[in-house]
Symmetry: C2
Subunit: 201 residues, 2 copies
DNA sequence: GTCGACATGTAACCAGTTACATGATTAA
DNA sequence: TTAATCATGTAACTGGTTACATGTCGAC
């Protein structure tokens, strides 16, 4: 199994590689640590790769000189490999972050997909789904509010705080939308009910 | 090349398959048509597969009895294959849409990723990026407002209108966030500027 | 006469996931 | 003793993209 390295010039790497580099920005770490960190940070607005992929990404980055690998032997635990960003890695990361036209944002909002295909659904099922969604979003919103309260005056977490603010505004928008959508759907059902009582046939 | 069909019982298919089925809900269509329709509808909140994938997905769905394929010879144009949802396909779609725990929503918001890794960037580059983003979102918001105005009283497009409303609330939240973030970053730069004038070194 | 819309498809590739495998330590 | 955490990795697969190939028609 050959490791494909990244070209030294114009290193066009997949976003995953830059995510890994970016996370290494907060200090040297093992693949295991990276996975944890990704799960509790960028997974909320970007995504978190599988462990196996982090490991192979790290190997690629090491082979390309973007990170250094240091084997650390441990007595009580299995050995670990700690990775650290090199100046070249940091430069590649910076160039990518500052590039003129970043990749477009994408989302897979399965709630909206369901609503869009709403006429294929039993309206009551749709309503149940939206109510559940609303509860879920309310919870997330409250959690984010708590987190934001604890970080908002910590300049060390200035940028994290900004992303948490984004989460707050997004969840708020989501709640408002879900409430509005529920009202409209319920109203519409009242006007022309799609089927008399009893379980959907 | 063997076509793997979907099991007749408990047909667990990838979301793409359900997207295709859902789009066929608005009538029989060719793969080409499906791509167009996907691009101007669900691509905005879910995603739009490559043409080649739509074609192979259709073949799989046909082999599984979820859709029927009809070859239509045309004189002036190349032949087309028109696909239509079968009752089994519609049932599978309904079951998927109404399932109890839908796949979690995901997003790849590269703006937030950049902000999160903001300390690796030149603050001025970050500011430029956010300003550009803000303009972009304002545009989308205006376009959505126009579309919503034309659709909101058409009961045929009731569900579309709901998803457009979601887009409006989301873009509004995005604008508010970007404005706030810009203010905070600029304020912070004013307090402790990171580097004296001149191009970033 | 060239470009874009119509229309379908194959081949090569890559990104990313799941499942499997190993094995020690610590807490319930 | 069972499960969770620490720690790494391989193999098989699938989902999805890009590039290539083919060919017609109508508009400019």
């Amino acid at each position: 199994m050959t490791i494909r390295t990244y070209e030294t010039q114009a290193p066009v790497m997949p976003p995953t590689a830059y995510c890994v580099l970016g996370l290494l920005g907060s200090g040297p770490m093992s693949g295991y640590d990276l996975k944890q960190l990704a799960d509790q940070s960028i997974s909320h607005f970007y995504w978190s790769p599988a462990r196996s992929q982090i490991y192979s990404e790290l190997r690629r980055l090491a082979a390309s000189g973007m990170v250094t690998e240091e084997r650390i032997e441990q007595e009580t635990r299995p050995d670990k490999r700690v990775y650290e960003m090199t100046p070249r890695g940091r430069a590649a990361l910076k160039a990518w972050l500052e590039q003129d036209d970043p990749e477009p944002d994408t989302s897979k909002n399965s709630t909206l997909l369901r609503v869009f295909f709403g006429r294929e659904m039993d309206p009551q099922a749709l309503i149940r789904m939206l109510r559940a969604k609303l509860e879920e979003v309310r919870l997330v919103h409250r959690r984010l509010a708590d987190i934001h309260a604890t970080v908002q005056h910590d300049d060390q977490r200035f940028y994290s705080a900004l992303t948490i603010r984004a989460g707050l505004l997004h969840t708020a928008a989501n709640m408002a939308w879900a409430e509005e959508a529920l009202q409209k759907i319920e109203e519409r059902e009242r006007l022309h009910p799609s089927s008399a009582g009893g379980p959907a046939q």
